[in-house]
Amino acid sequence: MKYIDEYRNSEIAAALVRRISETVTRPWVLMEVCGGQTHSIVRYGIDRMLPQQVELVHGPGCPVCVTSLEMIDRAHAIAQRPDVIFTSFGDMLRVPGSRGDLLTLKGRGADVRVVYSPMDALRIAQENPARKVVFFGIGFETTAPANAMALYQARRLGVKNFSMLASHVLVPPSIAAILQAPGNRVQAFLGPGHVCAVMGWREYESLCEHYRVPIVITGFEPLDILEGILMAVRQLEQGRAEVENQYVRAVSRDGNRAARDLIFEVFEVGDRKWRGVGSIPKSGYRISYEYREYDAEKIFEVDAIDTHEPPQCISGLILRGLKKPCDCPAFARQCTPQTPLGATMVSAEGACAAYYQYGRHLDTDGRAAEDCAASGGR
């Protein structure tokens, strides 16, 4: 229990762990959807505080990790053009594409810039009217309102040299895909708090009903996660399958109406390919017909792309909760945050990076093997 002692709210944490232990009577597999939650779980050792019967597997909720290789290769093709200023969130620069990462491209002279917000990319476009400024618009529903506003403002202000390579992914269809996949082990979900702060949780109600699976909308702080786990385990033990909201202080059933309205003005729902997982129907936002003149995919015509993924990378299985990072033979050997083979090793929210950062590969007490029991079952 060394992790609990290190944590400042150790007493509440210990009480929650006790309540979980008292509630659980048989083995359950829970998935946390959000990469921020994964990071927090590994950082605070939450998975190791839990009773043996409760297993956490890590979900697909890291937008950097699930951006498809095709999309990254398209980004490269666009960023290489001399007339382009390519802008992106920092994490995306280090994600390996078929032919290296964007940072390497920048080193070779491409004008690739890190921005904090898509609005900064729009500003760069206004300041550089002779160049074409492209923003790599990735993210889940949390990021979509920001990207939607950048396009809305670009059109309103008549900024013609701005466009977006949009690769948005959506949480509810990915939950459905995980539940439908052969060999699925996940029995309940901790839902993503910040995604639901924008979208609310109505969509999750039909998932619960259809798949008979409990979903608890949960925050990212350690006590949030422990409470979310307790609520999910209670539902499982009682045979309930409902949406419950642990993150009441940030999330309401309807979410942020203004943000949602603008998303649907600028984007439309379409099929989306997820890295390591494949295409999931209706699982992404693409730029709507109305806004097509801001769609970088259409402007630059970068379609036929021949991708190459390292064969040893099992990140697709990790993103679906079927394997854990230390099941991968390359983990902490050929693949480290300095030399990432797959996207889940790049972003801090990726399960491989989180396991590496907190030394899960260095453990000598046998816990590493136990953490990786996902594939074999405990």
Binding site: V64, Y116, S117, M119, G139, H194, A197
Partner: protein
């Protein structure tokens, strides 16, 4: 990059027809779009994701959430763009 970071609104104004403001995150102040939190005013705390406030939050909770995010290394995105050599303008600043 998926989590919102809480900060305090220091100033609200209109910028190109958009509700905008300055938000302070511990020692860092940034321009933030406030269009999605029409009810938030100066002195309020908001959760900010990639330059957009997405919800209000109470001050005590904001402080706690910020500390956890800092421990997780998740506040780094606030200054990620400071490394752009071609930036040429002040994109973030520390408040004394």
């Amino acid at each position: 990059m998926c989590l919102g970071i809480p900060g305090e609104i220091l100033e609200v104004r209109e910028d190109n027809g958009l509700r905008t403001g300055k938000v302070r995150f511990a020692g860092i102040t940034r321009e933030v779009c406030l269009a999605y939190v029409p009810e938030a005013a100066r002195g309020d705390f908001v959760v900010v994701h990639v330059g957009f406030a997405i919800s209000k939050i109470d001050p005590e909770e904001a402080a706690r959430a910020y500390r956890v995010l800092e421990e997780l290394g998740q506040t780094a995105e606030l200054t990620a763009d400071a490394s752009n050599p071609e930036g040429g303008r002040e994109i973030y600043r520390r408040v004394p």
